[in-house]
Subunit: 215 residues, 2 copies
């Protein structure tokens, strides 16, 4: 098992999103930053204009409406976060699927203890836009289902029995870990839940193949 101590900051694991350039990208970038801290509904058009120095006319040339900006923001965030997170897991656990299923919680632990953690953007988004047909909700729900499918693929690759059921239970633990960190305020959540994952893993790993030396 790769020890995570060689990585000190989340930046090293995640990298930073590209700095903004033209008007539209400046707006989306500023929106992402603001929304992640204060939520979607708190974002005011005038506020984001003052913050970026873009004029209102320019804004409405790039976006049909305020909602249009919100959609662009979560889509961009989705792209960035998915690639960053997967890259971080890859750094810690290479291509070993079983190690990756555990390393995911190490990455979560890093993330949880970074100073600018403000919860899972997609849980927030789906809660703020409860209508399942709202475009923002759709992006968030798709992201969640894709994550669950990636977990299933890892489970299959790791040779876990009943990978679908395992994927559901593993996903629930991940989501629950996010909620415990964000709402319960437990920033040790990832460390503690990781042991539950190990319990589920050993129960589902059929042959005692000593191939993956764990510990």
């Amino acid at each position: 098992m790769v020890t995570t101590s060689e990585y000190k900051t989340l930046q090293e694991l995640f990298g930073a999103p590209e700095p903004p350039k033209n008007g539209r990208e400046r707006l989306v970038h500023a929106a992402i930053e603001f929304i992640y801290v204060h939520g979607f509904q708190a974002l005011g058009v005038d506020q984001i204009l003052a913050r970026t120095g873009v004029s209102k006319t320019t804004f409405y040339k790039h976006f049909e409406s305020r909602d249009d900006l919100l959609i662009a923001a979560i889509q961009t965030r989705d792209q960035w976060e998915m690639t960053s997170f997967n890259a971080a897991v890859q750094k810690l656990a290479k291509d070993d699927p079983r190690a990756q299923l555990l390393a995911i919680f190490d990455v979560l632990d890093f993330w949880f203890n970074s100073p600018d953690y403000h919860g899972c953007q997609f849980i927030n988004a789906a809660s703020e836009f409860p209508n399942p047909h709202d475009p923002v909700h759709v992006v968030a729900a798709d992201r969640k289902r894709k994550s669950r499918d990636e977990f299933r693929n890892l489970a299959v690759a790791a040779g876990i029995v009943e990978p679908e059921t395992f994927a559901d239970q593993y996903t629930a633990l991940v989501e629950g870990t996010l909620v415990m960190r964000q709402i319960h305020g437990r920033n040790d959540a990832a460390k503690i839940i990781k042991s539950a994952v190990e319990t589920l893993l050993v129960q589902r790993l059929p042959p005692p193949s000593e191939s993956v030396a764990q510990r």
Copy 2:
């Protein structure tokens, strides 16, 4: 284990909140209903006034502001939901703590498959008001932490080893189940995750006492 088939509807398990009477209660009641479906930010003062037939002047005699109504709404919902849920668990599992830890997922399953399920109000609230000092967020976070403590108490009563760790893992599974139902759209979540709870339980139940040790 109590089979749940004797209960057909969530109403039987939960009961209904008391019908509204005077102006203030009508407003709070209508707000709760609306918020649970559409979210906090979607609630407009004029809308709720039209819906209840209360005048704006009356509204502002009862509440300092719109936010004040939101706070009253989530507090009232908190009271009602906690007592209803606990009563439902009691109906299914009497006073057997181990059975209660499993029955909680049976109640969740009922709830998930009722037509008017719209997610966990408190996850929604904390997401819509991400500022940890916001009054609405505080109510939601307190509710979550209290639930976790109730789970810990059940674990202690059930004689589970390391009840604190178990409570954290159990809580994560509950929260994860809620998220999977609400965002992933998996209304079979409670059934599937229940088996993970059983796995954690058998691992933590120390003596193979053939009958559940009851008080």
